[in-house]
């Protein structure tokens, strides 16, 4: 095929406000990381060593949410320098857990916490990359796993984007032949509104999914909320189910607001 095999694609891995967990999808791969490095050229990946934050690249994987004014300038530069920009993880796709501060007055918090809040550069909200630049593909999850990132790279090497899978966690749960714990244990599983990708890890341990892969396609949060109520959850309990790792994604944000309650 016509793909130009002579040059390895240049890859950058950037970090914004995050826990570092999504980059670990690469760093935790074991020896397979070295095999991957045969196929692509990591020109910028500060945590792994290569540093060239101005490099023009084919692929930029970006972890973390935009939280400071300096972040804003940096993400725009990355966009300019990258043929394809891929948001990885909940922080980059929905603002992450730190977007919980969007519901409060973030600067007020800083004042409560830091003796000298004036030294803290912080935008009023923690936001996903897509709020600021065009994002070519989003890999959801907190954290994303190596299958997602390597799958992306493998598809890219074949000249295509991967097929997006926004089905519910339930689909993976059932393929693993796990009994539905919402039904058998009456616990408030978020699987029916959460995007697949993790392989139904939580129901696999007999516990409830807490939505770390973000909203699925066509999520009926109203109906799930009604079911949670029947399971005995209070409006606060329900709001907190949605106000978790992907609290700032529109579907969960709206569901939390609708659930009522006083939690903020």
């Amino acid at each position: 095929m016509s793909a130009n095999k002579s040059a390895k694609p240049k890859v950058a891995v950037h970090k914004f406000s995050s826990c570092d967990g999504c980059q670990l999808a690469l760093l935790d791969m074991g020896p397979a990381l070295l095999d991957l490095a045969e196929q692509v050229d990591f020109v910028h990946f500060a945590e792994a060593g290569p540093f060239d934050d101005q490099a023009r690249v084919d692929l930029a994987f970006v972890e973390g949410s935009i939280a400071t004014s300096e972040d804003l300038a940096r993400i725009r530069l990355i966009r300019e320098n990258s043929k394809m920009l891929i948001a990885i993880g909940a922080c980059a796709t929905s603002g992450g857990i730190q977007a919980l501060r969007n519901y409060a007055n973030g600067m007020q918090w800083a004042a409560q916490i830091y003796p000298q809040p004036e030294h803290i550069d912080s935008l009023p909200q923690s936001t996903p990359l897509s709020a600021h630049v065009k994002v070519d593909f989003e890999l959801w999850g907190c954290p994303v796993n190596s299958t997602q990132i390597v799958g992306f790279i493998n598809n890219f090497l074949l000249g295509v984007l991967p097929r997006d899978n926004a089905d519910k966690v339930c689909t993976e749960c059932k393929r693993r032949r796990l009994p539905c714990v919402l039904v058998s244990r009456g616990i408030p599983c978020m699987g029916p509104v959460t995007r697949a990708g993790c392989g139904a890890l939580c129901p696999g341990l007999g516990r409830d999914c807490y939505g770390c892969y973000g909203p699925a396609e066509n999520p009926n949060t109203d109906s799930l909320t009604a079911q949670f109520r029947r399971l005995g959850l209070s409006p606060d309990d329900i709001a907190r189910r949605f106000k978790n790792v992907n609290n700032f994604s529109p579907a969960f944000r709206e569901a939390a607001a609708k659930a009522g309650g006083t939690h903020d």
């Binding site: 095929m1 016509s2 493998n154 598809n155 074949l158 000249g159 295509v160 097929r163």
Partner: protein, 284 residues
């Protein structure tokens, strides 16, 4: 549990095919000529008009594509493809000598034998529609065997009509009429401005004996079928080609279900009475 399947059944696992010809038809439409690498398999490949193959790009995916070539052409298998998405965009980059996977042919095609001696009306809409173009080519190559051939194409805007030369050229064949309608015309638009169905009154045909083949947006086909019926064409003489999502092409995966029909094996060509009950319903 009687049938024992042959694991290497060519219908279930692709066979390597090589690109032996490639034509760019328009900025986004191209034709590939493919030949199965296994000479015996190529020689044994038989299809009927309106059937389709599954074309496979290694590591990327499979897509259903109608077979364009003449059933009597045993040298190569022709496919005219519009680059629209993940797989087809990549297929568009293929060059002569490249290899892909192919399995097929699948489905039921046009009742081309029944059309012999009759007037044929071909109706398509939107961008050029491969399955009916194959019918046009077939008839034009055997012009004497068929009655009047009317080719009706509807487009939204004048610039949407691709293959303008081709339409003009078809129009030069004996007993062949091309009628094109654009909702919005343009300078030098030689054809009708308005809806396709406005043209139906002018179709030269013996309505009770003529046959229609249709392909394109379902809404257009529904209106066309109703109008043809009003013009006296028996419903069982109208045929159309359907598209649905397909993964297996052999009636297993369930994606292409249209009511009780599996489009991949019961279609893609259906007679109007077979589909008219559901086709107007959003959601089937």
């Amino acid at each position: 549990m009687t049938m024992v399947a042959n694991l290497s059944d060519k219908m279930l696992v692709p066979q390597p095919a090589v690109v032996v010809g490639r034509t760019q038809e328009s900025p986004s439409i191209f034709t590939l000529k493919l030949r199965l690498e296994d000479g015996a398999a190529q020689a044994a490949f038989r299809h009927s008009l309106g059937q389709f193959n599954m074309l496979y790009l290694p590591g990327v995916g499979e897509v259903p594509i109608s077979i364009m070539s003449d059933p009597e052409d045993q040298q190569a298998i022709g496919h005219t493809i519009r680059a629209v998405g993940r797989v087809t965009n990549r297929l568009a980059e293929l060059q002569i000598g490249d290899r892909i996977g192919l399995r097929g042919p699948f489905g039921r095609g046009w009742p081309i034998e029944n059309m012999k001696g009759r007037d044929v009306v071909v109706i398509t809409g939107g961008l050029g529609c491969a399955p009916v173009v194959a019918v046009i080519h077939y008839i034009l190559r055997r012009r004497a065997d068929y009655g009047h051939l009317t080719i009706i194409q509807g487009v939204k805007k004048a610039e949407d009509l691709i293959w303008r030369d081709q339409y003009a050229q078809w129009n030069t064949h004996p007993d062949t009429h091309v009628m094109v309608a654009a909702d919005e015309g343009g300078p030098l638009w030689p054809w009708h401005i308005g809806r396709v169905t406005d043209l139906f009154g002018r179709i030269p045909m013996q309505p009770d004996k003529a046959m229609a083949v249709m392909c394109g947006p379902e809404g257009m086909m529904v209106v066309s079928a109703k109008m043809l019926a009003e013009h006296g064409m028996p419903e069982e003489n109208m045929f159309l080609s359907m598209e649905r999502n397909m993964h297996c092409a052999v009636g297993h995966c369930g994606h292409c279900q249209f009511g009780g029909a599996f489009v991949c094996k019961d279609g893609p060509v259906f007679s109007w009475p077979q589909v008219k009950g559901l086709i107007a319903h959003r959601g089937f």
